[in-house]
């Protein structure tokens, strides 16, 4: 018995010791500096998501207290590149987009953002005040067993739906136009626009009509709403929604937004909810994670810049009540937001940013990585899924001061401002038409300076043949009867010319060289050929 109990005691003791040691090691491990996996191939092979997630957490922990936690002399970049790779793997983004999004936030916030993109946002509806009131609508829906609540203090028409036994997009109330299924974030640009009764308002990219109908509801069916969308198929749902919600003052048209001041201008207010990459609504459409490349972003921001300028030009600054433009996107990237606003401020000095009138949301960036923007961009507002529990969104509100675009908008002033705001990259400036002309003029000048008679001889020779061809062709058009004859003659002549052009040309050029006018004339031709 004794020996048995002794043995048991010993076993217990050993167990306890082991446990303590384990505890110790755990503590040590907590304090331990996280060691980055050295080999890249190894990390690529380990696709176990739990391992990857643990590694993400460790690296974030290190990055948050980098000075003390770093291992040896590994640089911050080593950690970040590993983190980016792991995040791509874990959340399924492509590398380009991951890098773009990652740098918008501080490290731990970025993880929160990616995490929030995996969870769907709450379903929200907007009461159509043209047909009913929020209290009545809520009562009607509660009678159908829908569980809902007001969306928040900031909106008097929004309702948040928690769960519903019936499809919320097919109830008799929905069909009768008492409410619109609409994301909370898309209330914001209309609230910022703050349309007043009897105004004429343009919604440049309006399908499926959530914002347009909200505008019409705020106008109480007075004034008029121009709802435009570039996509003809999408105008169908736009028209359906406008009719369903009982909007009687709307005109729906199908133009490219960039044509706009040309079609009709002089609006009191313009809402531009620009087409965007959709990085704010990844929870709704996860395909964005993989299908957006650098090219897409370039194309989009180019389009957005053109659209925002035509939006600004469509507004009448002398409007008694209005003269406002709201620019919004459902994207969180800086190129589609602050960069576009900054471009608009630079290209149209007759607008200024004003407060959006929304009392929540984060301020827009006045500087981002190597770019520095206009200081008033802090008046714009950003919304994030992890912070406000709505889609990622951006809202900027402009006020147009005068209808004239001031003279200082010329190329020279433009480049100066370019340097002022974006000291390192001035890619946006180059994209403008003025910039292109500028560079073209410069190359012409360079050509003039490096004048080389031998090269030009060849150029002129080729040009001479082409000019002859063109002249003869025109001649043929004019006189049809003699066309055939001339064509035959021309071909003979052409062959002759082709074989003997060298001889003829050397003779001709010598003759010209003898005369003094040679230099000047050939120079002119040279420039024309360019």
């Amino acid at each position: 018995m004794e020996t048995k109990s002794r043995k048991l005691d010993a076993a217990k003791k050993a167990e306890a010791e082991e446990a303590e040691a384990e505890l110790q090691t755990n503590i040590v491990y907590e304090d331990d500096k996280y060691v980055l996996p050295a080999d890249d191939h190894e990390t690529l092979q380990s696709t176990d998501l739990q391992v990857v997630q643990a590694r993400i957490q460790e690296i974030v922990r290190v990055l948050n207290n980098f000075r003390e936690m770093r291992e040896g002399n590994r640089s911050r970049n080593d950690y970040i590149s590993q983190l980016l790779k792991d995040l791509c793997l874990y959340y399924g983004y492509n590398e380009y987009l991951m890098e773009k999004l990652f740098y918008i936030f501080p490290v731990s916030e970025a993880i929160e953002f990616f995490e929030a993109n995996e969870v769907p946002r709450p379903v929200t509806i907007r009461t159509n005040t043209l047909k009913t009131r929020r209290r009545e609508l809520a009562q009607a829906l509660i009678n159908r067993g829908v569980n809902l609540d007001p969306i928040g203090k900031w909106s008097k028409v929004g309702l948040q739906v928690f769960d519903s036994p019936v499809p919320i997009g097919a109830t008799p109330e929905y069909l009768a136009g008492h409410y619109m299924l609409q994301a909370a974030s898309s209330f914001l640009p209309v609230m910022a626009l703050a349309p007043q009764e009897h105004e004429r308002i343009l919604d440049m990219a309006s399908a499926p009509g959530g914002k347009s109908t909200y505008i019409a509801a705020l106008l109480k069916n007075t004034g008029m709403v121009f709802a435009n969308d570039a996509n003809k198929d999408r105008t169908k749902s736009l028209v359906a929604n406008i009719h369903r919600l009982g909007v009687k003052n709307a005109v729906v048209c199908n133009y490219d937004g960039r044509e706009f001041p040309g079609v009709i201008g002089g609006f009191d207010r313009v809402l531009l909810d620009a087409p965007c990459s959709g990085t704010g609504v990844i929870s709704k459409d996860a395909s964005v994670k993989t299908n957006k490349s650098e090219q897409d972003f370039q194309m989009l921001s180019q389009l957005q810049k053109e659209l925002v300028l035509s939006a600004i030009d469509s507004v009448d600054a002398n409007s008694k009540t209005g003269g406002y433009i709201v620019y919004s996107t459902c994207s969180v990237t800086v190129d589609e937001n602050e960069d576009v606003v900054n471009y608009a401020l630079r290209k149209r000095p007759n607008v200024k940013l004003v407060s959006t009138g929304l009392d929540f949301g984060k301020e827009g960036f006045t500087r981002y990585r190597e770019k520095v923007f206009h200081p008033t961009i802090s008046l714009t507002r950003r919304y994030y899924p992890h912070m406000h529990n709505m889609d990622g969104f951006f809202v900027a509100k402009f006020k147009k001061i005068s209808n004239k675009i001031p003279k200082k908008n010329d190329d020279s002033a433009d480049t100066v401002e370019d340097e002022e705001f974006t000291p390192i990259t001035d890619d946006s400036g180059k994209r403008s038409r003025g910039g292109k002309k500028d560079t073209a003029a410069k190359t012409e000048e360079v050509e003039k300076i490096s004048f080389n008679p031998e090269e030009d001889d060849e150029l002129i020779r080729g040009k001479f043949a082409i000019l002859l061809f063109v002249w003869l062709f025109n001649y043929k058009k004019e006189k049809k009867e003699t066309a055939n004859f001339i064509l035959i003659f021309f071909f003979f002549f052409f062959f002759f010319f082709f074989f003997f052009s060298n001889v003829i040309y050397s003779i001709a050029s010598q003759a010209i060289e003898n005369s003094e006018g040679y230099q000047a004339s050939s120079k002119e031709i040279c420039i024309n050929t360019l």
Binding site: A176, K232, A240, V252
Partner: protein, 180 residues
């Protein structure tokens, strides 16, 4: 976009009169603003003159809709009312039918109204008269044509059809592609 011709106006108003009778005048002579009917791609739109004037600057191919669409002319020259005009005709309707909550969904799926679903009917509705269909909470759901007069309805069995379905607000979902 153009005003309706005489023939078109006649067919259109005849159809409209089936639902709102002489109240058509209320649509034309309004106290607040002048409104007009305009034809654009076979569809008839009812729109205030101010909006119409501004819409003239939009090209014919690019103009998708303006104001409220009342319906369209078929290829044979008849006029077909769309559910989109429900707001206006419900406002001026002469004869109405209210249906019980259990009859709402069948009607919104495009079925005729049977006697069992009827809650209330305007007195003295004749046979083949255009009527507006309401829910018991006074929400307009669509319109139809009576199969029997009010007095005849009393004798019918509960499953008999009382109102033939013409249009209902469920079409916003069912026929979004063809309606607009």
């Amino acid at each position: 976009m153009r005003p309706l011709t005489e023939q078109e106006t006649k067919t259109f108003f005849e159809k409209l009169a089936k639902y709102i009778g002489r109240n058509i005048t209320h649509l034309i002579d309004r106290g607040d603003e002048t409104y007009c009917f305009r034809l654009h791609r076979d569809r008839v739109y009812y729109v205030s003159e101010a909006v119409m004037r501004k819409a003239t600057s939009v090209g014919r191919d690019q103009l998708i809709s303006l104001g409220i669409c009342f319906g369209k002319f078929t290829k044979t020259g008849k006029f077909r009312m769309h559910v989109t005009c429900l707001d206006y005709i419900a406002q001026y309707a002469k004869h109405k039918v209210w249906i019980k909550p259990n009859g709402e969904m069948p009607f919104l799926y495009g079925n005729h109204v049977v006697k069992a679903h009827i809650g209330r009917v305007t007195e003295d509705t004749p046979e083949h008269q255009g009527v507006i269909v309401y829910s018991m909470t006074d929400v307009p759901l669509g319109f139809g044509v009576t199969a029997r007069s009010t007095s005849d309805t009393r004798k019918l069995e509960p499953t008999a059809i009382v109102v033939f379905h013409q249009a209902d607000i469920g079409e916003y979902l069912r026929q979004e592609d063809t309606l607009f």
